[in-house]
Subunit: 308 residues, 2 copies
């Protein structure tokens, strides 16, 4: 975030890549420094209210449905009967809300490290949780997610990692140890889903998340969705389990039986979101991202782009 | 583009939506006003050289492969043996280059209205065409694409509409009349592909393009790809024909037989790119985009986003 916005009109930019940023004009509604991070809420003409943590857009009222549906509906529709769900992070409540839309779910535990995020969202972004935080099936725990997973003895049908990016305190949520601890908490047939960064501008992060998850789980599949307020827009997630059932027909039947009404997810998206463009496939290959998503050395001979 | 950049260091922003723009820091290499538009070429640390027409990014050295592969390889791999191809627009040569990578192609006609764009790209962005403009199978025509299609008596196996957005002079390339004229120029089994705007911020344009194409063709299918320098990143294309063959296995066999080496397109992407998120399906439905991609009226009761 460039400059410190004052309450009232604010222009701010979120860096996406070197020399490239997403620029917003909005109005600052709320600003505080919590124990863990700087919390800001902006009102924006296109995106509605925006939650920004340490200068990085976490969610907005207008496009939140994309990220939250793909982090919650997609994995839950890969499970025959998800009853117990653990959410790590997700203080805005948007993931919890989608989890609770599955009538099979009897219990959803949301472990958020920063109580101030929950409070800021409750006050300024209530449209995102849409009441889910008060659902009797929901338990809110303010705690370190990694510690919670390590200490829990419960078995979950789905664990959803709704974290910030793997920088600073969030990095532990992308570690091999954390993924292994999650696997130990999964019931038979259970799945883990995690956001894993943008394939354009966070290639090293996606590569590491996929590699680390692959040390813990025998079956890990990246999938993609487009979130216009995330840097690069194209965003990746990981689905992990013992042996994943990603069949779109099964998912469609489950969605119909559960009455899931989605605005991004469809049975076709369920089938298509696992299709990785060739350069993304390279990012998650064992040899890692060979270079930026820029021109190849051969193409380079024709031009003048400095190779990075 | 905010402000008029001078030769040398330049900051410029491309509006994506109200209060939201993509901001670049680069270096202006070239600026001219042609008969049709303002042409600028920037050098950018992340995207390499960028072609900007009337303030809108058309292509960059680093991400051009995405748009050009999906506009050329995808339709050509839906045709058993594409021999004659017409490109309308595409002055940078990136589409032509991918067309000529198909060894079945005997003749590729590129009709670009603005000779100054061809020259600027030849001089400043040679990595994009990578020599294709000099291929003996290529014919370059500087002419109005709509007039050319109307007057031509040739039959093409594929017509690729590599246009700017449907504003100003480009609008005719999205009209029912133009799509009908294109259909008249297709050989049996031939296909048309066209860029059709971004599903987030150009919803009315995508709706109109799809509706207009559907008046001319019995089979029209939108497909998607992510181009990080286009506003909203998620971008749409239309594939149109009498009865389309979009089978990924057929496309994969053709790609292998033709030796196509792609960096975005894969057989899986060929299958997955036609999967429309629910809100995009709504955009192209006959009733049109019902509202922005923002919250529904019910969700609204919980929050404070002004409905647009």
């Amino acid at each position: 975030m460039t400059g410190r916005p004052q309450a009232g009109p604010a222009r701010f930019g979120e860096p996406a890549a070197v020399g490239f940023s997403y620029a917003y004009e909005g109005r600052l509604l709320h600003e505080e420094r919590s124990l863990f991070q700087r919390i800001e809420v902006f009102e924006h003409q296109t995106f509605g209210r925006m939650l920004v943590l340490d200068g990085l857009t976490q969610t907005t009222e207008v496009d939140e449905f994309i990220y939250h549906e793909m982090l919650a509906h997609l994995p839950l529709l890969c499970v025959a009967e998800p009853r117990r769900v653990l959410i790590v992070g997700g203080g805005d409540g948007g993931t919890l809300r989608r989890v609770l839309e599955h009538p099979t779910v009897e219990r959803a535990v949301m472990v958020e490290i920063d109580a101030a995020v929950i409070e800021a969202c409750r006050k300024h972004l209530p449209a995102i949780a849409a009441g889910a935080l008060s659902d009797p099936r929901a338990e809110l725990v303010v705690a370190d997610g990694a510690a919670y997973v390590g200490e829990s003895r419960e078995a979950f049908d789905a664990i959803l990692i709704d974290s910030s990016d793997p920088v600073g305190p969030g990095v532990v949520l992308f570690s091999p140890e954390f993924y292994r601890a999650c696997r130990n908490r999964l019931a038979p047939g259970g799945v883990l889903a995690a956001q894993s960064g943008g394939p354009f501008f966070l290639q090293a992060e996606l590569h590491t998340a996929f590699s680390n998850a692959s040390t813990a789980f025998p079956d890990v599949r990246p999938y993609l969705a487009s979130v216009p307020t995330y840097p690069g827009t194209l965003w990746s997630f990981l689905l992990a389990g013992e042996s994943l059932d990603v069949d779109p027909d099964s998912a469609a039947a489950r969605a119909a039986a559960r009455g899931i009404a989605a605005r991004y997810w469809t049975p076709e998206v369920h089938g298509g979101c696992f299709a990785l463009p060739a350069f993304v496939r390279d990012v998650v290959s064992p040899s890692g991202p060979p270079r930026s998503f820029g021109p190849s050395p051969e193409e380079h001979e024709h031009g003048a782009v400095p190779l990075r």
